[in-house]
Symmetry: C2
């Protein structure tokens, strides 16, 4: 898919009866205003916008259920919308329909500190949840960079910098409330740490990208704030040495809380954007969580390994404000990277490979990027074998689109050849559909299609995403 | 369901054409011998046997695929069989059909030590895998007590004593090879630590109890053997104090590797069966994994908490042989318990509740058990909120069946009233179908049924289990 092509205008106008029903039911929270629709028709992907025909700001599961039931009756698509931070076109209304914006569903419904769980409405963001947890001594670790909604994070099976220690949304969602295609409100699981009671509906909806139901509430696991916490930055003479150090650290079982690779070019972009003065070299960012003794022990083990691979001395960020600055700089690398070409748009890869193949995968990706004149950089949650190449193109230049997509293809194929995946955490959306076909194969895709048809026979739930039905 | 009722003889004889095809394809590995069928028609549950019409000893995924395709053509049920250690009647051929025994599919296909993964055929047991890992410095932690097959453990979403630290099969299966109802061989995921590539087919098959496909290969996560490891036993004046100590330990975030409750009666049974001399009191068994410093620190924190709740001093099992004796005794508690009534059969509950409710749930269960004259005991993976009540009945006494089932019902209802689950790790099988209805509710069950119909339209895969279709 080369985004300069506009999406096919196969959409039909909203049935007047549906518009009337939604207006009657929701009043001003249902909008067909062009500006509102346009805002809900784009995300952080480079894909051209595809606005919905209308937007509903829902407040409760019951409202979502009513809206979905009405849309179902009229065979009109429903696209869930959280914060719009998706990177793969998940929320583009490629077949028109109603965007159900859950951002006002922002109530923290329960904090069960004694059980290390919290239940929130789908529009609550990770930062909002962590603010609400401040008095409890607990935190929610999953951190995809953007301040995404918990509903959106569940829908894309998000993860990020902390996943190497705490897992992804797959491991950290205990249960969901979802609205199904027939407008039923279903709770997928009890609030228990484990269960063998029937099919794992929770995990079926986690990562389903809005195609099987609208997530309206999320119950997540929480963790005690670590007694001690430290962060450090270390630079290496080469990419290969940095990655080989990571492989050794993971194989040694060191429970690092964060282990991030940032390439020399990304460091340059970050320095320019965040006014930092990091050494422009292949760099690892670490964070250690635990007791004082354990953090000390982890850091020592990691330092020994890092030295073996030619790493410089650790630069510590011991104070909370230093750590915040460090991780903010890392999180802003996406926006920093965009500045490599002002006005440009980013095509971002998201491959993940078995850790033993990481050096080949990331080295191969770097060689591909180096073969092109398109500004590029790499960052990665390398402790999990997951990394992102970012290519910043001139969106008005079809030649650059084509070249960036070709490089994207080659980087993905390299990962697939190593038993890797095309997407470690961003999801498939629109942009990776062709990769999923190659990765999963026909028979696995056919199982997915059967599940989709069984749960959404009219194909109204975020249609046109993940796979061609 | 009161097992003294025989299963309805609604089964029809195997079509002669199918028998002929299976004999031609598999020769002596296809058997209709009565003794073989009877052996494959019972498990560790108290349910009356329901033998299949024939047994196939498969060797490869391709053989399983051929057998399933043949059975599908004749609309004959297929029941996967691993080691027969199921506790809920999962493998009883209640509608007749072919038992596909995967115990000879016992090849360890790959140990990717550098990636901390292994891929095995479904018949490999957990002990066999750990033996194969001996030279690598790695281990596979999931330990349901029985030396179950990895395929069976995946199918029931098993866990056990180590899950409090390492998670369940849900967290530790990276991918599966499954044979679907139409005889296709499907790989559910790549060998990567995380992925957002489409629906989570792996987690859909984990816990599906043979009703969606036959698991033929399993890829699991491995862990470095901890540098240090210690185990301890501690007894308490009361059940309540023991459980309150557990709750505090979990809430404090101590990463205990094992945290098991064994009631006074279970200790008595264990002492008699395993010739140990443990104090007959409410007892916790702990194991700590980590670096020397971390194990020391964990043990110290736990000892402080234990003392607060009236616990005795730790009795350490520092030497490997002492630890083995301790955990063997714990694992044999099921067989020890059976000796409370020689010739008896056990009805075992498997409830799991949010940790804050554990004291109420386990105290309530104990009061229910105490109200009955049926010999009983309790053990539990209490760090996860999961515990088992075991009632040993005279299988020839319908009054005892009825009373045990009534107590089972009440214990489950108590757990469900606390947002708990009827099964933490054993699965639904036949015996918990009525509980799953209450736990999941109609709408969630309907989603499960739709998935089942979509993936197995002729209902040939382990029919009659989990829910009424």
């Amino acid at each position: 898919m080369h985004p300069p092509q506009a999406h096919p205008p196969s959409r039909r106008p909203l049935p007047a009866a549906l518009t009337a029903s939604l207006q009657a039911r929701f009043g001003e929270r249902f909008s067909t205003a062009t500006a509102v629709c346009e805002q809900h028709g784009r995300d952080e992907s480079p894909l051209p916008p595809a606005p919905p025909d209308a937007v509903l700001y829902a407040l409760t599961s019951e409202e979502v259920a009513d809206a979905v039931a009405l849309c179902r009756a009229h065979r009109v698509p429903v696209i869930p919308y959280g914060t719009g931070s998706s990177l793969e076109g998940h929320l583009l209304a490629v077949q028109g329909g109603i965007s159900i914006d859950v951002s006002r569903m922002n109530q923290v419904l329960a904090i069960n500190a004694e059980d290390l769980t919290a239940t929130v409405q789908a529009g609550v963001t990770r930062k909002q949840l962590n603010d609400a947890l401040k008095a409890t001594g607990l935190f929610f670790p999953i951190d995809p960079g953007a301040d995404a909604s918990l509903g959106g994070m569940a829908a894309t099976r998000a993860s990020g910098t902390n996943a190497v220690r705490y897992g992804t949304m797959k491991e950290n969602v205990l249960g969901l409330t979802v609205v199904t295609a027939d407008g039923k409100i279903v709770r997928t699981a009890r609030r228990v740490k484990k269960s063998s009671a029937g099919y794992d509906l929770t995990r079926l909806f986690v990562g389903s990208e809005g195609t099987l139901g609208v997530i309206t509430e999320v119950t997540v696991r929480l963790y005690p704030l670590p007694e001690a916490l430290s962060a450090a930055v270390v630079s290496f003479p080469s990419l290969a040495q940095a990655i080989d150090a990571v492989i050794r650290i993971i194989q040694a079982g060191v429970p690092v809380a964060r282990c991030e690779y940032v390439c020399d070019r990304a460091i340059r972009a970050i320095n320019a954007y965040s006014h930092t003065s990091l050494r422009e070299a292949s760099t690892l960012f670490f964070e250690f969580h635990g007791s004082e003794a354990s953090v000390h022990e982890q850091a020592q083990t990691v330092q020994e390994i890092v030295r073996e691979f030619g790493g410089q001395d650790f630069e510590w960020a011991a104070r909370p404000e230093d750590r915040t600055r460090l991780w903010t700089a890392r999180h802003n690398s996406y926006f920093a990277g965009l500045q490599m070409r002002p006005g440009g748009r980013a095509i971002t890869t998201d491959t993940c490979v078995p850790i033993s193949r990481l050096s080949e995968a990331i080295g191969g990706a770097r060689r591909l990027l180096d073969s092109s004149s398109i500004p590029s950089m790499m960052v990665g949650h390398v402790g999990d074998g997951n990394f992102h190449s970012m290519l910043v193109i001139d969106p008005d230049d079809p030649g650059q689109w084509a070249e960036a997509e070709r490089l994207n293809d080659e980087i993905v194929h390299l990962a697939l050849s190593m038993d890797g995946t095309c997407t470690g955490e961003h999801g498939v959306g629109l942009h990776k559909m062709r990769f999923l076909e190659q990765e999963a194969g026909d028979d696995a895709l056919e199982l997915m299609r059967r599940i989709k048809r069984a749960l959404d026979p009219d194909d109204i739930l975020n249609p046109g995403k993940i796979f061609v039905l």
